[in-house]
């Protein structure tokens, strides 16, 4: 029997608990011993932490997150990359897989190029650094990119990747979901369209518990052959 705790939408200034009973987690603030929500989100109580998971808002970079970035500017020994956060991220040539000479950055990455990167560092002043130095990180070519609310990414990936695995299985597409709400899809046109439609459906569907099954049924219905 699934023990589902009733989920609740909370808003800024909503009283969630007291410091003497619980610990204030993400998305909350404390004033005079009381814990309040600081954002519009979903209440998530785990062990004795009170957290609020955001429903909306820009991507909040976390070190080691995989993200899809769009190059804004090529500078002398680094690139400025848009990762849908409140600030652009810096990619230093030393964090790239190439041997880039000073002033030659444009030869490798230019304005408008898309990259699969990883968040390397977030400092106190929120200055962000990303890296391309990992075997599964690279400059993206071909396919299509779509944008979704960063808060919906967990839903699109699914529990232990279940949703994304489904999508890949029934459409034979390569799919990469950035934690920052950007998704790259590669395959034939018809399949890419299918993936996009399915993702839009997942985005707009209510947070019901049987979503994965529902989506599988739909994908099964018009899948010609299964990988």
């Amino acid at each position: 029997m699934n023990q589902q705790k009733k989920r609740e939408i909370v808003i800024p200034s909503q009283l969630l608990g007291e410091v003497k009973n619980k610990k204030a987690g993400r998305g909350t603030f404390v004033e005079k011993g009381l814990i309040y929500s600081e954002i519009l989100g979903i209440l998530d109580e785990k062990s004795d932490y009170i957290n609020v998971v955001p429903i909306k808002g820009r991507y909040d970079p976390v070190v080691k997150d995989f993200v899809i970035g769009i190059v804004q500017e090529a500078m002398a020994s680094s690139w400025l990359v848009d990762i849908n956060a409140a600030y652009p991220a810096l990619l230093h040539v030393n964090e790239s897989p190439w041997d880039v000479d000073f002033g030659e950055t444009e030869k490798y990455l230019n304005y408008g190029d898309s990259i699969m990167a990883k968040v390397l560092q977030v400092d106190k002043e929120k200055k962000l650094q990303i890296t391309l130095k990992d075997y599964n990180l690279y400059k993206i070519k071909g396919g299509q990119i779509i944008d979704v609310e960063p808060s919906k990414v967990p839903r699109i990936i699914g529990k232990k990747g279940s949703m994304i695995t489904l999508l890949k299985k029934y459409t034979k597409c390569r799919i990469f979901v950035g934690q920052n709400g950007r998704i790259w899809i590669d395959g034939n046109d018809v399949d890419i369209k299918k993936v996009i439609e399915t993702i839009n459906m997942i985005e707009n569907e209510s947070l019901s518990f049987g979503l994965t099954n529902k989506i599988e049924e739909l994908l099964k219905k018009d899948a010609k052959d299964v990988r």
């Binding site: 939408i9 600081e38 955001p54 409140a86 002043e125 049987g210």
Partner: protein, 241 residues
Amino acid sequence: MKSDIKLFIDGKRLDGRKSDELRKIKIEAGVLHRAEGSCYLEWGGNKIIAAIYGPREAIPRHTQNPLRAIVNARYNMAAFSVDDRKRPGPDRRSTEISKVISEALEHVILLEKFPRAAIDVNIEILDAEAGTRCAGLTAAAVALVDAGIPMKDIPVACAAGKIENQIVLDLGKEEDNFGSADMPLAISPRTGEILLLQMDGHLTQEEFDKAFDLALKGCYIVSDLQKKAILEKYKPILKEE
């Protein structure tokens, strides 16, 4: 502005309201596609749309504050929003209102989370009928929540005033033109802190206390409406199977 116009008829105000009654208010969150947060609000004859962009890097760079975000509120009236067409562009009144609204919002937004950034708040008055700054701030607050901006409270505003020696809540158009005092008030409803307070006209200390209490009462009523509007927009995502 003195006039022969009567503001009370048979003990009721021109639009039939009692002295402590608000005009009809309708609030809708998340109405625009490009903006990160938005709100459409109707308050009496006012029609307002507010949109949020940010937090994003503040430009030009010299406006950046290394410790926190800055709030740029821009209150603007559309040319067709008033009886005599208003020339497009900011005038001194809009500039002042933009400033007091920015300052009110800065108090409740958790600015330290976004050093060097700017939160751009756009308030557009599409149809105007007295009390636009209160309605504008109220709409901007909902838009900020809709944008996922972290705040310690959802600010709300309401005005009270004096017409024919009586203190009334939420002045309507003629009351604003021919009344003898107008006092817009914005608060942080959770703590009761005053974020915006302006007044022009003539009030005794006693009258001020009355007006303040009334405006406060109005604020709490509107605050409920803001929260309802937000939940109405987002509750459906938790629809049970």
